[in-house]
């Protein structure tokens, strides 16, 4: 740990939920040192704009407007946090440096990787022309237009790769579209299908047990072990690796996701780009742990959170929200030269999110590494809770108020 009066630099890569909250919590914990000039906390973000991605689904489903989902990152950050806008092209951990596309080189003592994940629809031929999704505002608006034009037929909703952002989203979309089509008197003219790559509707068994009867009640046929292999635009069918074919008039697919390219290019992550991360300390590992359980070395000054990690958790803002205090606690302790507080410095795998089931009702998923969720019976309160959470997000989560 650097000592002896030298400025300690904390670099946070990414101005999403995880990066912004970590920066603000560090500004609070290290206020005096920052004011004295001993510590500098800097967020590096590609656009300088904070985007509330969970809202994209509501552009397609609930009349949400894109303008309401974007705010200047500067306005969400504590005034003690510096913001650099630029695209990160390389993380050179041996030199403790980050390089930006414009040639800027930023040095760090501690680095937090909060760069999120990215969608890769281009990995499935004809995805762009044939399939709709709701993972960008543009795609969500296009889906809204397709739904407005829809007058009945075969509607196929599926998941074209795992892991993906916001695991409940495709199920929520299926349930919300069912409600909408009923209200528009089109449901009896629509044949609805839902495809899951695994052996049940949802990854977590207890949630799948809650959701499966909802699919049945709504008359949505669930196809399990359906791994999207090909889209045939001529015949309008989507074909699975398992050999099943589903014809569609309207196709909605969660696109495949990968980790950030910069992590692969920098040699920190391999394969799909997820960072090997310690499940409790959130330190980045030099490699995945060995098969016999032997731990690979952790990088003591490098942390990851949110979608960027390889942890077996939801890729969701909620995960980053509960990871950020752990990262902030650990880095603040390292800066002060003390041990992190035992409880606050260890992540338990906590995630909490709302789950819409249509008809103005929702439930709540709350879980950690050792406790699977037991969703309460869906009701109107959780639905209103989700709406209220989305509306008040700007004043709560990034600022560390909840």
């Amino acid at each position: 740990m650097p000592q002896g009066g030298r400025v300690q630099r904390i670099l946070i890569l990414g101005g999403g939920v995880g990066g912004t909250l970590t920066a603000n919590l560090l500004a609070r914990k290290l206020r005096t040192r920052i004011d004295r000039g001993d510590v500098v906390v800097t967020v590096v973000d590609a656009t300088g704009e904070h985007v509330y991605q969970p809202g994209f689904m509501y552009i397609a489903m609930g009349g949400e407007r894109e303008q309401g989902l974007r705010r200047a990152e500067r306005g969400l950050l504590d005034r003690r946090v510096e913001l650099v806008v630029g695209e990160i092209v390389r993380i050179d951990d041996s030199a403790h440096a980050v390089e930006l596309a414009d040639g800027t080189r930023l040095i760090y003592d501690y680095v937090v990787i909060a760069v999120g994940s990215r969608i890769t629809p281009e990995t499935i031929p004809h995805f762009a022309e044939e399939a709709h999704h709701f993972y960008t505002p543009e795609a969500a608006r296009r889906l809204r237009r397709a739904l407005d034009a829809f007058t009945g037929g075969r509607l196929v909703i599926g998941i074209a790769g795992m892991p993906y952002k916001c695991p409940p989203a495709p199920l929520e979309v299926a349930f919300l579209i069912d409600s909408e089509l009923r209200a528009r008197h089109l449901r009896d003219r629509t044949d609805m299908h839902f495809c899951s790559p695994i052996g049940r509707a949802f990854t977590i068994e207890s949630v799948s047990e809650m959701a499966t009867p909802v699919f049945q009640e709504k008359g949505i046929e669930v196809h399990t072990f359906f791994n999207v292999e090909e889209i045939d635009p001529e015949r309008k069918v989507v074909r699975s690796l398992e050999g099943e074919e589903l014809p569609y008039d309207l196709l909605i697919l969660v696109p495949p996701h990968k980790g950030a390219q910069v992590l692969i290019d920098s040699g920190l992550a391999t394969g799909s780009g997820w960072l090997p991360t310690d499940r409790e300390t959130l330190q980045v590992k030099t490699a995945p742990d060995a098969p016999d359980g032997t731990q690979s070395p952790r990088r003591p000054h490098m942390y990851a959170l949110g979608d960027a990690t390889d942890l077996p958790l939801s890729k969701a803002g909620s995960t980053a929200h509960f990871e950020a205090p752990v990262v902030a606690e650990r880095i603040a302790a390292q800066v002060r030269g003390v041990e992190p507080e035992a409880k606050a410095g260890h992540y338990t795998g906590k995630v909490m999110c709302f789950f819409e089931i249509g008809g103005g009702k929702a439930t709540l998923l709350q879980f950690d590494y050792n406790h699977p969720p037991h969703p309460p019976k869906p009701n109107r309160v959780w639905h209103l809770g989700k709406i209220a959470f989305n509306k008040t997000y700007w004043h709560t989560v990034p600022r560390g108020r909840v």
């Binding site: 695994i198 052996g199 050999g243 098969p291």
Partner: protein
């Protein structure tokens, strides 16, 4: 290794939780050739039911599920 079949590729998915091991197998099947025999090592108890169910649906051959110390080895032959 398994009792009678030569494994052409082994996937060690012991650090990964459901559905990770199944997703790793699916990736290997996509990349492999017909006739390849793929062994998946999984410490997640769900895998020894999930993977055989998937293999049946996908039209491949389950060579066997072998209990090893602390994990299961599930061996699959790619048939198509």
């Amino acid at each position: 290794m398994t009792e009678t079949t030569t494994v052409s590729r082994t996937i060690d998915a012991r650090g990964s939780f459901c559905p990770g091991p199944l997703m790793e197998l699916i990736r290997a099947i996509r990349e492999g050739q017909v006739g390849d025999v793929i062994a998946v090592w999984s410490a997640d108890s769900g895998s020894k039911t999930d993977i055989p169910r998937w293999v049946e649906k996908a039209g491949h051959r389950l060579v066997g599920v072998f209990e090893r110390v602390g994990y299961d080895e599930i061996v699959v032959e790619k048939l198509r």
